[in-house]
Symmetry: C2
Subunit: 111 residues, 2 copies
């Protein structure tokens, strides 16, 4: 683990704060983790996250699309099929998801 | 950067979701970053985070104390002085703060 030192990490950074707001939305971090695992369809994302309503999942996916984190592709099947995936910006969140997962494994399960 | 693979990262993990809720609270990630930088007094934390009211900072610090992430020490000076610091659990969030800071530097500033 790399610990930031006082020299490296300024107390406040507006970009960091903005990033924490994007990722900190309720269910957002869970949705990104599910997309990282390779799931692409709405119904599968919904099934993977117990307690998340379709309405909220739809809203979160729209927000993540607006942030350029999620891509939405209409596949011209019959019936039409919609695939969600992480953009490069979204896939780059893997390090955040991993760090948070590791912290959770060390600390949250021991509560 | 370590990318989690499909084998390593399950789509859903309740501990991870809980961790994301703890860290995802509005201003929480900013407060943890400021505490990591070595700031200890309420007024200094408040001064380091533009836009954060004293009321909300007080509420967030209480929540983080309840989660065992922040410690609150009363130093018997005259006048009495209160010092906030990260616990071991809180300092261990450095890897999350770093990953999010790096992602923010790569992506948020280019918006």
């Amino acid at each position: 683990m790399n610990n930031p030192t006082e020299e490296e990490l300024t107390p406040f950074c507006p970009y960091y704060k903005r990033a924490s707001e994007i990722i900190g939305g309720r269910w957002t971090a869970a949705i990104i983790r599910v997309l990282l695992s390779g799931v692409t369809h709405f119904s599968e994302i919904a099934a993977a996250i117990p307690g998340l309503s379709d309405r909220l999942l739809s809203q979160r996916l729209k927000e993540l699309e607006a942030e350029g984190i999620v891509t939405r592709t209409v596949v011209p099947h019959t019936p039409v099929c919609i695939e969600y995936a992480l953009s490069e910006k979204g896939r780059d969140l893997a390090s955040v998801v991993r760090a948070l997962s590791e912290w959770a494994a060390r600390w949250v399960e021991h509560d």
